[in-house]
């Protein structure tokens, strides 16, 4: 476990930079995590995606299926990769404060 600091934000992260305590997430934390993903600013589209992931996660305790993510946000997968270059699982989920996906994901 390591501590990640960005401006005033200070959070526990794992070796890959995912949050250890997803409950500590807030919008400033999202900005901090985005900076590690090469995303300097979060546009309205970024927030749309992040908020959807966040809501789904709070309801079900896991990220949604990728097809569902694309359909419900209206973003094709290509667009998700444009927004978060490391993709939905490693990029978008990380910024939304979800824990690192496990298994063959």
């Amino acid at each position: 476990m390591a501590i990640f600091e960005w401006e005033e934000v200070k959070i526990d992260v794992d070796e890959d930079g995912f949050m250890e305590e997803p409950d500590q997430w807030n919008e400033r934390v999202a900005l901090a995590l985005a900076s590690t993903e090469g995303v300097a600013e979060l546009s309205e589209e970024h927030w749309h995606l992040v908020n959807y992931l966040r809501d789904y996660y709070q309801k079900f305790g896991i990220a949604p299926m990728i097809r569902k993510l694309c359909k419900e946000t209206g973003f094709p997968l290509k667009k998700v990769y444009e927004l978060f270059p490391s993709g939905p699982a490693k990029g978008a989920c990380k910024v939304a404060g979800l824990a690192k996906p496990t298994g063959c994901v």
Binding site: E15, D16, F60, G61, I62, A63, P64, M65, I66, R67, K68, K71, A89, K90, P101, T102, G103, C104, V105
Partner: protein, 470 residues
């Protein structure tokens, strides 16, 4: 595409994502993350774990045989997709096996113990242990070298055993250990930590999509007691492979199959196959328990190579014996239905060129080689084989659990998956069919990393596009 790696590529591939202070603390120069373990006295602990495993398993007679016949002739190099890229002697399969066999010879045979005392051989050193720990996770356990070994040594088995002993003293990739822990003692009980409500939400979503696209009601039957088949895919399919699952459901619906998904256990993944016989046994027992709960007649594994092999071969070995329920892969079912005339596919839907990647775990034993090809030929006009293929097929480069270790991705791209990238380019195919959750993830990354003009799909993804409902 040139197979041989460049100096720049090698630099990228071997770069470690581990923090130097962790490597120093654990005294372990490997590229995968390892949870903290007892560093002091670990050579002794390794030997004790090895002794215990030998006492309670059948490995001893295999090793006694291997240490006598191993000729170290290196013919296996011609069948190793890692060695073909690096040309490094440390990547020769029989060199890797010798790392473990030499420990066995020195410590577990009378001759080894005698000569050790006579000539002052200090026995297993920490440096040797470090080399073993690094080496066994460079191998993808694809067992292609078995084809070429004139003595018939299964280097994949030796690698598995070395990983098993190492895991007993706490040295195993964290990615696999964490997933396995969630599967065996976690709340969700599966490797991707999917809670049941999320599973049900996903399946409902897919049912709606299928009705929209096909105009037919296609269900995922849940907890149906007495169904013929318990369907167990790699659990990651519920997050990643919508089209594959829709293909599975479409085939079952079109052919009138009796099947069910159990909410008690729905994960075919078994990382025990890669690093621990304990885990292997416990994970297959979970499938058995669910099959008994729902009183099904057979078990059907989804598109996943290692899930199929671990269930097919180790479920009878560990907990079924000759009374074990029959286990099939979903492609066998689709093939049987095609032959019976119950599965109808439109030959005018898939116009692009397709190629087929053989997942090592189902193709190497010759179990599933012909069935998917006949299915493909039934509806794809332009089917091109990779060379070599079938039982001789080349690993995607993410086998043996390595695909789940994200931090070694550059190694999997520059070295492990280079041969597969070349094969894909050479076929000129648009669709690369890989009916395996491991291979799918790896080949998607290969296509992206090497900027290939191809699309990765599962076999059932294409069947879903072409299936005809009466």
């Amino acid at each position: 595409m040139e197979l041989k790696i460049t100096e720049e590529g090698l630099k990228k591939a071997l770069k470690s994502a581990r923090k130097p202070e962790v490597t120093a603390k654990q005294k372990l120069p490997v590229r995968y993350h390892v949870e903290d373990f007892k560093v002091e006295g670990r050579t002794r602990a390794f030997l004790e774990a090895f002794a215990a495993i030998l006492k309670h398993s059948n490995y001893k007679f295999v090793l006694d045989h291997y240490i006598r016949i191993s000729a170290k002739c290196s013919r296996c190099t011609t069948n190793c997709q890692i060695y073909e890229v690096t040309g490094d002697e440390h990547d020769i399969p029989c060199y890797r096996s010798e790392l473990l066999l030499s420990i066995y010879r020195r410590h577990f045979t009378v001759a080894g113990q005698m000569s050790g005392r006579l000539f002052g051989d200090p026995g297993l050193t920490d440096e040797h242990l470090q080399e073993l720990a690094a080496s066994v996770w460079n191998c993808t356990a694809c067992r292609r070298c078995v084809n070429e070994c004139p003595m018939g040594i299964d280097h994949g088995l030796v690698t598995h055993l070395a990983r098993y002993v190492l895991s007993e003293i706490g040295i195993a990739p964290r990615a696999l250990v964490v997933s396995t822990r969630e599967q065996l003692i976690g709340d969700s009980g599966n490797t991707s930590a999917i809670p049941v409500p999320a599973l049900l939400d996903t399946l409902e979503f897919l049912e709606e999509d299928m009705e929209e696209e096909k105009g037919v009601k296609i269900k995922f039957p849940i907890n149906v007691e007495g169904a013929e088949y318990l369907f167990v895919p790699a659990v990651s399919d519920f997050l990643m492979e919508a089209e594959t699952l829709m293909g599975n459901a479409a085939v079952m619906t079109a052919t009138g199959g009796s099947w069910t998904i159990g909410t008690g256990y729905f994960d075919g993944i078994n990382y025990g196959l890669f690093y621990s016989d304990h885990v292997l046994e416990k994970a297959v027992q979970k499938i058995l328990a669910e099959a008994e709960r729902l009183k099904v007649k057979k078990i059907m594994i989804g598109e996943c190579g290692h899930a199929s092999r671990s269930a097919k071969y180790f479920y009878p070995a560990f907990c079924g014996g000759k009374d074990a329920l029959p286990i099939i892969n979903c492609m066998e079912y689709a093939y049987d239905m095609l032959k019976a005339g119950k599965l109808k596919l439109d030959p005018n839907v898939i116009k692009e060129r397709v190629t087929y990647h053989d997942p090592c775990n189902i193709a190497r034993p010759g179990w599933i080689v012909q069935q998917p090809r006949e299915l493909i030929r039934a509806f794809c006009k332009d089917f091109v084989e990779m060379t070599p293929n079938g039982r001789q097929g080349v690993c995607c480069g993410g086998g043996g659990g390595t695909v789940s270790i994200d931090e070694i991705m550059p190694y999997r791209m520059e070295i492990g998956g280079k041969y597969k990238a070349k094969q894909i380019v050479d076929t000129g195919a648009h669709y690369v069919i890989a009916p395996c959750a491991n291979c799918k993830k790896q080949i998607r990354e290969i296509i992206d990393y090497h900027k290939l003009d191809a699309e990765l799909v599962g076999l059932h993804d294409l069947i879903y596009k072409a299936i005809i409902f009466d």
